[in-house]
């Protein structure tokens, strides 16, 4: 579903953030990328939809080339990838439903949407997505009036509204109360199981990763240092991913 080969990201002037990343995510996997902060997890996710431009390497998602795609091909590839951010990244002053509708922007005609005109089917889909994260009653509220956990659920609804094949979630629980981690991860698991959506989630918390992932990839200093089932994550593996030495 996601195919990454030889991915390298160098940020100016000469910081090598990711190097020689080969990764194939199979359909329906719940893949968690583990690593210390600064290991390159965020950059990996952002390179997959080219919010960060890869220096070299290949990215393909759902059979489409992302690297080397033209502007319109890139937009088409992006709308098949929902993205969830650590800071939710909602448009804070807009209403909840408007935030979810933003997930349809890749599908609707550009000019009418700018004037707020969305096809009826898209509005209904947005409401359905909001209902799926349990926030149907919040549709008319302003996004910044919601709690952090609710805002992240709106962000998930926005991603679902894209009807994506893949969801990229960048530390989706890192800026939430630890008590809320489970509820957000549960929603992601439900999406994964019920819709068969492929999930690529970055996490720095080992326990959470092991509890939800079907596969773990460890990232250390911009390189893959582990790739296997959660059951294979031994204390030695954890040390290799997180350890201070080496």
């Amino acid at each position: 579903m996601i195919h990454v080969a030889g991915l390298r990201v160098v940020l100016p002037p000469a910081a090598v953030i990711l190097d020689a990343i080969d990764l194939t995510v199979r359909p329906g996997e719940f893949l968690v990328v583990l690593g210390r902060s600064g290991a390159g997890k965020t950059t990996l996710l952002r390179a997959i939809n080219r919010l960060v431009e890869p220096t070299s390497g290949i990215v393909r998602v759902a059979g489409r080339s992302v690297t080397g795609a033209s502007a319109s091909e890139l937009r088409e590839a992006r709308r098949r990838m929902g993205m969830i951010f650590q800071q939710f990244n909602l448009v804070r002053r807009a209403r909840v439903i408007e935030n979810v509708l933003a997930g349809r922007l890749g599908y609707v005609p550009s000019l009418p949407s700018v004037f707020g005109a969305f096809p009826r089917a898209d509005r209904e889909l947005a409401m359905a997505c909001l209902a799926q994260v349990g926030l149907a009653t919040m549709a008319e509220r302003r996004a910044d009036k919601l709690s952090g956990g609710e805002q992240q659920r709106v962000a998930i609804a926005r991603a679902l509204a894209q009807q994506p094949s893949v969801i990229l979630a960048d530390e989706p629980t890192a800026s939430l109360d630890p008590a809320l981690t489970g509820s957000i991860m549960d929603i992601l698991r439900r999406i994964n199981v019920e819709r068969g959506l492929t999930l690529l989630v970055s996490q720095h918390q080992l326990e959470t990763a092991l509890a939800y992932a079907t596969r773990i990839v460890g990232l250390r200093r911009g390189r893959v240092c582990f790739d296997g089932a959660p059951g294979e994550v031994t204390p030695a593996v954890a040390e290799a991913i997180y350890g201070e030495n080496g």
């Binding site: 919010l51 937009r75 993205m83 448009v91 804070r92």
Partner: protein
């Protein structure tokens, strides 16, 4: 270094005082004449009140129309002058244009437009548009440069077009600021428009200049009082509105 800076500053100020003929003694000798003029202004000649009010209305109209047109014209200019959204080939020329036109005051534009289209409030409106468009564009562009990157990333990730990104990721963040800048400009434009009449560009300034030339100080004082009242009323209304925005 610091001593040298002080020395240069003192020399510059000393030179300026000498070259402008600044003379405290002359000022003190002139003081009685100021009181003399003030005394001759009293009591205000209320017979010219209708004319003064009409002039004030014209001035408000000039500022209102000019600011409104400029607020719209400044939108595209402001966007292409923002470093974080405009491509460099657009951005650099746009900045040069802004800084060039902004360096000329409304009154100077009024002189040019009076010469071009003749006397009356219309060249005043044009002058307000000319100055306000570029000064608002500058403020707009700074607001755009100060936005939170997060929502822009999120909208980009949905596969939105550039126009949609501007509309849904950027605009909601800057719109309240834009409106507040427009109101602030309206306040300063009312003040600027009071003197437009001096150069034949209409409004209350025309009456003030006329009565001063005729040495009709009681009439001039009525005009002055109306000007002060007008500016205070507009300032109060505008700041009330601005409070609501933020």
């Amino acid at each position: 270094m610091k001593r040298a800076a002080w020395f240069v500053a003192l020399v510059a100020l000393g030179w300026s005082a000498w070259d402008t003929g600044a003379d405290p003694v002359r000022f003190v000798r002139g003081l009685p004449w100021i009181f003399d003029i003030l005394g001759r202004m009293l009591p205000p000649d209320l017979r010219v009140l209708p004319a003064a009010l009409l002039g004030a209305l014209k001035t408000v109209e000039i500022a209102l129309l000019g600011t409104a047109v400029a607020a719209v014209l400044a939108l595209p200019l402001g966007v292409i002058s923002a470093r974080n959204v405009a491509a460099p080939p657009l951005f650099y020329p746009a900045r040069v244009v802004l800084n060039f036109f902004r360096s000329v005051d409304t009154l100077v534009y009024a002189l040019i437009f009076v010469a071009a289209v003749g006397l009356g409030p219309f060249p005043g409106v044009l002058a307000v548009i000319a100055y306000t468009t570029t000064s608002l564009a500058k403020l707009y562009s700074e607001a755009v440069e100060g936005i939170d990157r997060g929502p822009v990333d999120a909208i980009t990730a949905t596969g939105a077009t550039r126009l949609q990104i501007l509309r849904f990721g950027v605009l909601p963040q800057v719109l309240p600021l834009f409106l507040s800048y427009v109101l602030y400009r309206l306040e300063t434009n009312i003040r600027a428009a009071t003197v437009l009449g001096f150069v034949g560009a209409g409004g209350i300034g025309f009456y003030l200049q006329t009565y001063l030339r005729m040495i009709d100080y009681p009439a001039a004082s009525t005009v002055l009082l109306v000007t002060v009242a007008m500016v205070m009323v507009v300032d109060a209304l505008s700041s009330k509105l601005r409070e609501r925005l933020v």
